[in-house]
Symmetry: C3
Subunit: 268 residues, 3 copies
């Protein structure tokens, strides 16, 4: 899979050169960490959620990241408005259905965004993704109770139905648009003990998609890069505190060459 | 007090085994750090404040943490709605009356939540707790201007009046339900230089209360654990930056045995 | 410029002795980091944005910091209400026009706050400041596309027009009220890779202004202190993660004497 490893390095290089503006409408818990992840990798984050400014901000952005982690109805309205503008302009939209399956508000919001805007990539854990299939599903708060393997069985069909690329993250990540499927290894167990690592992966997909039109390649290379950064950050980390700080350092210091040598993407 | 030291270790073990979901309706300043504190100790945090989803989230949760640190009227409504649902289901509610005594909005919100829901534990600094007594009181923003000793004099009476357990934190912590009183030593002066350590203590009480029905024991053991973590984090910390990171590491790495050996709870 | 170096040390000493309460109405992304910056330097932060409590909180505060980073109309209303109260009481108001020039909502909000309250200092990057001049301007999200040098040409005139002190930050900072102009050296390139460093500089100006009535001196000494802390934090930092933590440590550990010896303010 050296072609995709090369693509990962190339995308990272482009982000650092062009510093794409990534417009995030995201949750309160992870806003700070997400912004720092995007800055560390070389992108330029902006958070803006007012329904009377989101369209203007989308106009300036290279990608739009929608994350439903701490939702109210007004935020859904703003997300859809921003998403419609991005759809019209052909800018990539990445959706993170945080907690879909846990409450009706979240499941319905994710489905409404998918129905009313042109979502390019959905990044979630297995339970969140399965909830979009309308299957019997439950999410424990925001944590997965299904494995990526369970989700993989329906992912291809679901991706085709929704007309979007699915990125299902867990110990092994899976990316599929229903035709092409890739798996990504990497990361570190401490990632599950730091809030916002999933949301940050979604935001990174936004940055990679801003410089790579192919949604499958953008999602897989972003996750591959994040996986390498997680592995590097894990070395010598005492616990989640040092890990979350070293992760930001790794996203900043890793060179495209190092990422190319270390990242592990395979045909799924 | 070796029984309570043993209980502290036991509660921590249960949290790590059962990973209780802790539903937080909390303030914007501390959402990220609070979530990381809960994850570090082994619990599963979720933040959700929309009035059309809080009841569903309470259904999934082991405890509900209400924190009035950055309040508006709509949030008070959602807190009371969530609190009523938790009261009905017999799930523990922990209230953090951040800044009560500083403004009417905060004092009234804390009192309304106490009046309309079944709050199991209130965790605050001395000034915040005194403001609930309707005494002449003032809080400087969110910082205490009274000592725990001052609050201790009225704490027992107040706890009985409010029908709740009070956890008053400061250099020495005090927990009382008006019949039983415990004091807890530990922590580190740098805790006062990191925002959200008090709020995190409240959230930890939520995690401990999710696995320990006794409100006095849950509050005291949570504070004892947090005190040990603070002491350990303080060793070698240069300033509040390194301290806040090492605190997360300590909450993650401390074993029940170490906590049992180091924690200091005494009859008050 | 030893007089201003001495003033920097003196202001820092006063903050640590009097712990002024700084009332922030600021954006979701930086609330946590800003509060930690203020705590680290010795001030007492409070965040409060409800329109039915901001006036009471202003009454308690030594300075009011308004930051439009994640805005909605309701927040603008609260900012103006708080600003009017501060104006009436003669308390310093510091405005951070985050992203002004990027969207109409932000540009208009900044102008409305300037028109309806008595803003003492505006701290922004060159593009944000230029947007207030009503010039042809654009801001890329929240990042500057103009240099401080470009802004310096019009800063004096603009400061006189707006009747406020302008603090324009970049590799070299510029502070002017249209009569007196100072430049400040210091800081570190990693500051641009951590979200909220600009917002934190604004909050620090709030803390310094709470103990120093002279807006030019307050702004310049705050930026000089922040510049020294940035330089110290940069030593040995691996990337933005370690840098953001070491910056908090530096703000806490630097003595007034060290700051006096290292800070670099000059007549502009």
């Amino acid at each position: 899979m050296s072609a995709l490893a090369g693509k990962t390095a190339e995308n990272l290089k482009k982000i650092r050169e062009t510093k794409p503006l990534i417009h995030n409408i995201t949750n309160f818990v992870v806003m700070n960490y997400t912004a720092n992840v995007l800055l560390a990798c070389g992108a330029s984050p902006v958070m803006a959620h007012a329904d009377n400014e989101v369209e203007e901000m989308v106009d300036l952005a290279g990608a739009l990241v929608l994350n439903i982690g701490t939702l109210t109805d007004g935020w859904v309205t703003a997300m859809i408005k921003a998403g419609r503008q991005a759809s019209e302009l052909g800018k990539p939209i990445i959706l993170d259905p945080v907690g879909a399956g846990a409450t009706a508000l979240r499941t319905n919001a994710a489905k409404a965004i998918l129905a009313q805007t042109w979502v390019s990539v959905v990044r979630g854990n297995a339970s969140e993704i399965l909830s979009l299939a309308g299957q019997e599903s439950a999410t424990k708060g925001v944590d997965a109770i299904h494995s990526v393997t369970e989700a993989a069985e329906v992912a291809g069909t679901l991706a085709r139905e929704l007309g979007t690329t699915l990125a299902i993250t867990g110990p092994t990540d899976l990316v599929t648009d229903g035709r092409r499927t890739l798996t990504i290894e990497g990361g570190h167990p401490l990632m599950t003990r730091v809030t916002g690592t999933g949301c940050s992966a979604t935001a990174l997909i936004g940055a990679f998609h801003a410089v790579d039109k192919d949604s499958v390649s953008a999602a897989a290379t972003a996750l591959a890069f994040f996986g390498v950064a997680g592995e590097v950050a894990g070395i010598g980390s005492v616990g989640p505190g040092t890990f979350m700080i070293r992760l930001l350092d790794a996203l900043y210091t890793l060179t495209p060459e190092e990422v190319e040598a270390r990242c592990r993407i395979a045909k799924g």
